[in-house]
């Protein structure tokens, strides 16, 4: 049996090797190219990849599109910010503690909202997102209201606070890589299989003795934690949070990430995040232009490549190749 065939029966091993190679290449990049502004962008990519991966898990496995990931990004960001600035908790610890809040809320929302069909789910999660935005804006005492919060301590390891881009880079990319590995493992496990089946036919799955609701809630919580961790890491990198953090526009940008990278490709989500970050940096300009480009691109991509730009292009290339050899 070839190496690849053997690896197919060991998805965890295969995933670990893939992610391992990927991480090593990412870690070598600053070594090869030296310090520079690009490092700043790449840290953003590492951070934004997390909510994107979370949504990819939800939409790819469970076939659901929720618009709550922005809200959980905000909850993670604000939660960790409040704990670390007002209670003096160590940023790593506050990041983790904030996830407890994320889990509690996501479990509650998920349990009730996931029975709904696609657009009702979207509306319900959108409403939830609006409530979260409102609470953040109005609860001035806790969140700083429209001004947001400043002076959030940077992430640190072993007592040293990260103080340069390179340091953040070497802390954040391993975290993202590990979470990517978790997502890949989940996807290729019995849980991923059950979720894909649930997506296709929930009544049939029930007859197999599988409690669909529990699985859907589970993946929703996982997906929300991904967003929450991303939010916390974001807060400890840029040092401030505002109501614009994890706003609905942010949530739509993440949907855009998946529209580009593919709705059910985890690696595609990384590609999508890289593209969006580059676009944000060089092409999108002011908020208004950004909205126009974002909106038009979403429409165009969904019309032409309903499964996402990247998978659509890959299919196109594959088919052409077959056509030539056939």
């Amino acid at each position: 049996m070839s190496v690849f065939a053997k690896l197919n029966n060991h998805p965890v091993r295969r995933n670990t090797i893939q992610v391992g190679l990927f991480l090593i290449s990412m870690l070598l990049v600053p070594v090869i190219f030296g310090p520079g502004y690009y490092l700043n962008m790449m840290i953003f990519i590492a951070v934004l990849a997390l909510p994107a991966l979370g949504l990819s898990l939800l939409s790819g496995l469970a076939g659901q599109l929720a618009i709550s990931h922005g809200a959980f990004f905000a909850i993670g960001a604000y939660g960790s910010a409040i704990l670390s600035t007002r209670a003096g908790v160590n940023p790593v610890l506050s990041t983790l503690l904030a996830q407890l809040l994320v889990i509690a809320i996501a479990a509650g929302i998920g349990a009730v909202v996931l029975r709904l069909r696609s657009h009702y789910l979207a509306i319900a999660t959108l409403s939830f997102a609006i409530i979260v935005e409102l609470v953040i804006e109005e609860w001035r005492g806790m969140t700083g209201g429209m001004q947001g919060m400043l002076g959030i301590p940077p992430i640190g390891l072993f007592g040293h606070e990260a103080s340069s881009d390179i340091q953040f880079y070497y802390i954040y990319w391993p975290v993202t890589a590990l979470m990517l590995l978790f997502a890949l493992n989940l996807s290729s496990s019995r849980i991923g299989r059950a979720l894909r089946a649930i997506r296709e036919g929930e009544p049939v799955v029930s007859s197999l003795g599988i409690h669909a609701a529990e699985y859907k809630t589970g993946i929703y919580v996982v997906s929300s934690v991904f967003a929450g961790v991303g939010g916390a890491l974001y807060a400890h990198f840029v040092g401030f949070v505002t109501p614009a953090t994890g706003s609905i526009m942010f949530a739509i940008e993440i949907i855009m990430v998946l529209a580009l990278g593919g709705f059910d490709r985890l690696w595609g989500a990384l590609v999508g995040v890289a593209l969006i970050t580059l676009l944000n940096e060089y092409a999108l300009g002011f908020a208004d232009y950004k909205k126009i480009i974002l909106g038009v691109t979403l429409i165009a991509v969904m019309l032409v490549f309903p499964r996402g730009l990247l998978p659509g292009l890959i299919d196109l290339v594959r088919n052409r190749r077959f056509a030539r050899t056939a």
């Binding site: 029966n9 060991h10 965890v12 995933n15 670990t16 590995l181 978790f182 997502a183 493992n185 989940l186 496990s189 019995r190 849980i191 991923g192 299989r193 059950a194 894909r196 089946a197 997506r199 296709e200 036919g201 009544p203 049939v204 799955v205 029930s206 007859s207 197999l208 003795g209 599988i210 409690h211 669909a212 589970g218 993946i219 996982v222």
Partner: protein, 254 residues
């Protein structure tokens, strides 16, 4: 009794789909439910499997009441089902479909699977072995890695069968398994049902192919207009004037 149904009734608002239905199935038996279209056969299956709740009456599986329980609970109690339109999961391979049958016996929650802990691998291997066994039983082991959506109807049925057997259920409900099959395929299916029965699993099936039904069934239940019309051996049923009248002659095609 493997399955005991008594005074079963299902109303949809003013429409009475089933009324005062009672029958039983002994362990290891192959029992057929026949009746004209609209007689309530699929509704009966839906009630047993938990897709619908009865408005009155009782259903007992191996002595335990299952009437009104949610479908996953009934599935876990030991009832499996195949459907008139084969409900295979098109986005999964055949092997994966079969692995879903045994899913609930194996451990591994979200954290364990995400972290890729060792025991999840062992469980997966066990699951795969079990699934492969049942694929072999159903005669489709050679196409295990194809996508379920690529198969013709007849073979999709066998995927359903493998998956149902992998659940280790005591009772299998088969809803019109011979629908859409030609004579040869129907004969092969009959062999398959016999093989299933030989494993000790109890089979309750609905079908319109009379040759198929009569050659397989130990007993036959006839429903008409949602009520029990007759119950007996195939021979008795074929001779029963009541049944003949209800059908206006029993045909051997669907």
């Amino acid at each position: 009794m493997m399955l005991a149904v008594s005074s079963l009734e299902k109303r949809f608002g003013g429409l009475v789909a089933l009324k005062d239905v009672h029958f039983s199935v002994t362990p290891g038996q192959v029992k057929a439910v026949i009746g004209p279209n609209g007689a309530g056969k699929t509704t009966l299956f839906n009630l047993i499997a938990g897709t619908l709740k009865p408005t009155a009456g009782d259903i007992r599986l191996d002595g335990e009441t299952i009437a009104g329980l949610p479908a996953p609970r009934i599935g876990m109690a030991g009832v499996a089902r195949t459907f008139q339109q084969p409900q295979v999961f098109a986005s999964l391979t055949i092997l994966e479909n079969a692995m879903l049958g045994g899913h609930r016996y194996h451990r591994g929650g979200f954290l364990a699977c995400g972290l890729g802990l060792k025991h999840t691998k062992r469980e997966e291997d066990k699951l795969r072995e079990r699934a492969e066994q049942w694929l072999a039983f159903a005669g489709i082991a050679d196409i295990a890695h194809r996508n379920a959506s690529e198969l013709p109807l007849g073979q999709q049925r066998y995927v359903e069968i493998a998956r149902a057997m992998a659940t280790g259920s005591k009772l299998i409900l088969m809803d019109e398994p011979a629908a859409g099959l030609d004579d040869t395929e129907t004969r092969e299916l009959a062999d398959m049902v016999r093989a299933i029965s030989d494993t000790g699993t109890t089979v309750l099936l609905i079908d319109h192919h009379m040759d198929f039904v009569m050659s397989l069934a130990d007993e036959v239940l006839v429903l008409n207009f949602g009520q029990r019309l007759a119950e007996g051996t195939p021979h008795e049923i074929q001779k029963s004037q009541l049944v003949i009248d209800a059908y206006l002659g029993i045909d051997d095609d669907a």
